[in-house]
Each structure stands twice: as C-alpha cells, then as structure tokens.
C-alpha cells in the first residue's frame, strides 16, 4: 500500500519534470523567434527618423550610398511581388497537376518512385539552382529570344518555380491522397468519370491542403535569397516587361549588408527592408493558416 503510494508520487514528479522540460523546449524556440523579431525592429526602425514610412515604401529610387542618400524600396517590393507571382504562375500548375497525377492516376509503384524524386528537387541547394540560371539559362535566353539581358525577372521566376514545385507538389499530394476513399467511390458509383471525380470531388475536398501548399510555396519564393541574388539582375527599377532585370528585397539585403557601415543609415534601411519582407511572409503564413482552417474538409459525412 505504502509502496504503491510512493510509486504514484514518483511517477507524478517524473511527469511534472517532463512537462517542464517540454515547456522549456517549446518556450526556447518561441523566445528565439521573439528575440529575432525584436532585434529586427530595433535595427530597422531608426531609419524612419530620417525618411517617412511613406517615402520609404513608395519612394522610387534606391541610392543608399549617394550624397544625399535615397531610400525608396518601392521598386524592390514590386520586384519581390512580381517574381513571386510569375514563379507561382509556373509552379502552381506544375506542382498541383503533378500531385494530382501522383495521387490519383499513377500506379502505386510509380508513385513510390516519382514522389521522392520530386522531393529531391527540394534538396538541390539554392546556390546550385542560381548557378544553373546564371551560366546556362541566362545565355540561352539571350541567344534564343534575342533579348539584351538574360539575368532578368523571367529567369529568376523560372528558377524560383523549380524551388517551389517540390513544396507545392509534396504537400498537395498528401492532401489529395488523404481524401476519404468513400467520397471517390460514391462519385464513381453515381456514374461520374474519373476526370469528373477528380475535378468535382477530389479537388474540392482537398482544396484546403492544396491552398496551404500553394501559399507555403509562394512564401518560399518571396523569401528566397541566393537565387534572386544570382539571376534577377539586380537593377533597382520597376520592371516594364517580363525580361527586365529586377532587384527583389532579399537580394538587396544580402548584397549590401556586408558593406554597409555598421549602424549607419544604410544599415538601418536594410533592416527596415527586412521588416517589410517579414511583413509579407507573415501575411502569407497567416493567409495559409486562415485558408487551411476555413476550407477544412471535416469527415466524409459533411459533404
């Protein structure tokens, strides 16, 4: 009796220790995130004593080292957004259709082979993709399309699409594959063809997962640094065509941070650009969260 009681107590204590341990671990990663955000704001906000928020965001000229300097990141924001949108136009159809094929059409054996291969694309280091874009794709675009610069918006978007396809494909494939079997069987039993089943039953049922995949893929594209640094061209102007060079925010930060005088205006402006970038990725993540909750498929019976 006493022994049992003792055992119970020691089990409870052990339980509490483990609980505390898990709390500390979870708290550590959150506090690291918080510290980084605080640091980002601390180093970025001082620039707004020199330029107004409006002039910073909507200014058309980025000449951080001229006398007097100009800190307008509008061309940088437009560059980041256009690169993201165009790469999504390429990567979403590729990723989602590959996922549909793998989950619904391909044989089990083929699926087991192809899915790891697509995921392997994500294992390619971004610097390798950037190098490929710079050395192979850029000269090819120049010669093939007779354009003056191969390092441009289109090239960067294409390379970024390569990087987001695995994310989009892998997550949407999981979502599509987990659509309850009964739904598909019911649809087929009602006389729908396979194509109709995919289009009207499978896709609507997995739309929340697919949307999450798409948004995560896009947020990967907007935050990607190495590829845009190497292949986007780096001209801080608002692009007027698909083949104009652009300078997305991460490329600007990466290229200039090393040489910016420590705690100078330029340094602060780069951190403020980081805040803008953080805001965009945060919006993407919140959107992904919202979409995945709103359109969640809850069980087979609700349809």
């Amino acid at each position: 009796m006493l022994n049992n009681q003792h055992k119970g107590r020691s089990r409870r204590i052990k339980e509490q220790w483990i609980k505390a341990l898990f709390f500390i671990v979870a708290f550590a990663s959150i506090s690291v995130l918080a510290l980084i955000v605080i640091f980002l704001f601390m180093e970025g906000l001082p620039i707004f004593s020199k330029v107004s928020v409006k002039a910073f965001i909507f200014g058309h000229y980025w000449y951080p080292t001229s006398e007097p300097p100009e800190f307008g990141i509008f061309p940088l924001i437009i560059a980041s957004l256009s690169v993201t949108v165009i790469s999504s136009l390429i990567s979403i159809p590729l990723g989602v259709f590959t996922a549909l094929y793998l989950a619904e059409v391909a044989s089990q054996r083929l699926r087991e082979w192809v899915k790891p291969l697509v995921e392997l694309l994500a294992a390619l280091p971004s610097v390798v993709i950037g190098f490929f874009g710079m050395v192979i794709v850029a000269p090819f675009l120049q010669d093939f399309l007779h354009i003056s610069v191969g390092l441009n918006l289109f090239n960067a978007s294409l390379m970024l699409a390569f990087m987001s396809v695995p994310t989009i494909c892998s997550i949407s494939e999981d979502a599509i594959f987990s659509v309850p079997r009964e739904l598909k069987e019911a649809s087929l039993a009602l006389g729908a063809t396979r194509w109709e089943t995919i289009g009207r039953v499978v896709v609507p049922a997995s739309i929340s997962g697919i949307s999450t995949a798409v948004i995560l893929g896009m947020s990967r594209a907007i935050g990607e640094t190495m590829v845009v640094l190497m292949v986007a061209g780096g001209a801080a102007m608002i692009p007027t065509s698909l083949f104009d060079p652009v300078r997305p925010m991460p490329a600007s930060i990466a290229a200039e941070m090393a040489e910016a005088p420590f705690r100078g205006d330029h340094y602060y402006a780069l951190f403020a650009t980081g805040i803008a970038l953080f805001a965009f990725t945060l919006i993407f993540n919140l959107l992904a969260d919202y979409v995945s909750h709103k359109y969640r498929q809850v069980g087979a019976s609700t349809l």
Binding site: Y61, W62, Y63, P64, T65, S66, E67, P75, M134, V135, A138, P139, Q142, S148, V149, G150, L151, L229, M230, G233, G234, A235, A236, M237, P245, R247, A254, A255, E256, A258, E259, A260, P261, F262, R263, G264, H266
Partner: protein, 272 residues
Amino acid sequence: MKTKGLIITAVIAVLFFGANLASAGNLVITGSTTVLPIAQKVAEAYMSQNPDVKISISGGGSGEGMKALIDGTTSIADSSRFIKDTEVKQAVDKGRYPVPFAIAYDCIIPVVHPSNTVVNLTVQQLKGIYKGDIKNWKEVGGPDKKIVIISRDSSSGTYEVWDEKVMNKEKVSPAALMQASNGAIVQAVSSNQNAIGYIGIGYVDNSVKALMVNRVKGTAETALNGTFPIHRALYMFTDGWPKGDTLNFINFMLHPQKGQKYVKEEGFVPMY
C-alpha cells in the same frame, strides 16, 4: 543521437575557436573581398615561415571588417576604402583607435565582351554610359547594339571608387544590373555581347576584354604614376599601433620582397 553529436561538436568548435582568439600566436583577418586573395596568399607564406602562428582569414566586405575591428573580434580589418567618419566615432566610443596601412593599389578596369569592337572609352563616355545617357554602342564607335550596363552593388568598395573617379557622384542609372562580386561581373560580361562592366585589375582574364581609358591601358605602372584615372589604395586596419604578431605580419605584408611580391602575383599593384 546524430543531432546531439552535431550540437556537441558545434559547442566544442565554438569554445575552441573562442579560446583560440584570445590566446597569443593567433591572428584573425577579416574584411574586404578585394583584399581577401592578397591576405590569403601572404598569410600562407607568413605561416610557413612562422609555424607557431595561426592566421584565420575571412571575407565579408569592408564594412564587415570595420565592424569586427570595432567589436574587437579581429586583429586586422581589410578594407578597400578608407574608414568612414561614423566608423571612427564608433571605434573611439569603444576605446579603439583604428590605424590604417596602405598595402596595395587596385586599378579598376572597364571590361566588355571579347567580341566587342570598342577598344577605348573616355571617362566622360563611361560616365555617359553608366548614367544612362549613352544607350547604344554605336554612339561610342561600336556595333548598333543596346548597351547593357553592369555595375557592382552600390555598397561595395569597388563601386565607391567608380562613383568617385568616373561618375563624379552622379547616379548610376537604375537600369544597371547590380552584381555582388568581381567574379559575378566577369561571368555576366563574358556571357553577354552587349555588356559593359568594371572589375579590379586582378580579376581580368581572357573571357572579357579590358578597355583603355582616355587612351591609357590599365597596368601596374599607369596606376602608380597616376596616368590611368581609375585606381584606389587598399588598406589593412589595426586597433592601435600593432604589437607582437600583428606588427610582424604587417611588416611582412609591406616588405618589398615578401608580402608585396604576393600583391603583384595576385594581379594588384604593389606599393613598394
């Protein structure tokens, strides 16, 4: 288990390097990527003659080197520009007194694709091209092709020299492609027939064509005697007048038969 092993290795590495930094007989050199190849060569030679001294070298840029000097995490900061007023002020606030040593001259050469027929441009023409006023190669005696301007990032030391010696503080056209390193410019110019770029003399190779400026060819002599218009000094900064190993290294660096020999080997212009 694997991750745990990794973490332990990382912790040991940090402790080890941290301890290394403090102990004698070790030098840390960091800063400008332009100075990096010189520093690397000279450090290798120095270490082979003084096996008890360990030198660790990294790049990262002139600003990064100054930051490290101000923070006291480096013994020598490489820089492709002179120290800025704001940096001096921060250093003094922390009780540090940066001392400059000019170690080499760097000559910045405009380059074009080897197929381009243009051989010479004046500083005025270069300025016109980079401002965006001259848009076609035929305006400067070349083929009827649009000029693609390639520049270094506006925060690099190389850009600063270009800005000062060529642009005369006027702005480079926003349409210019910005590249993050000398190597990237060589790569971009060599793969684009319409491109013009500018690089340190040490990076000129057969894949691009060096242009004359004001009819002067960019060489060691023309940079030193001042006839080639686009050149600058490269520096190493120490905290206070150097002592011990740092002093020995700087002396080695500036010796005409020792360090300066490697400056020349790397394609820069020696001071002595």
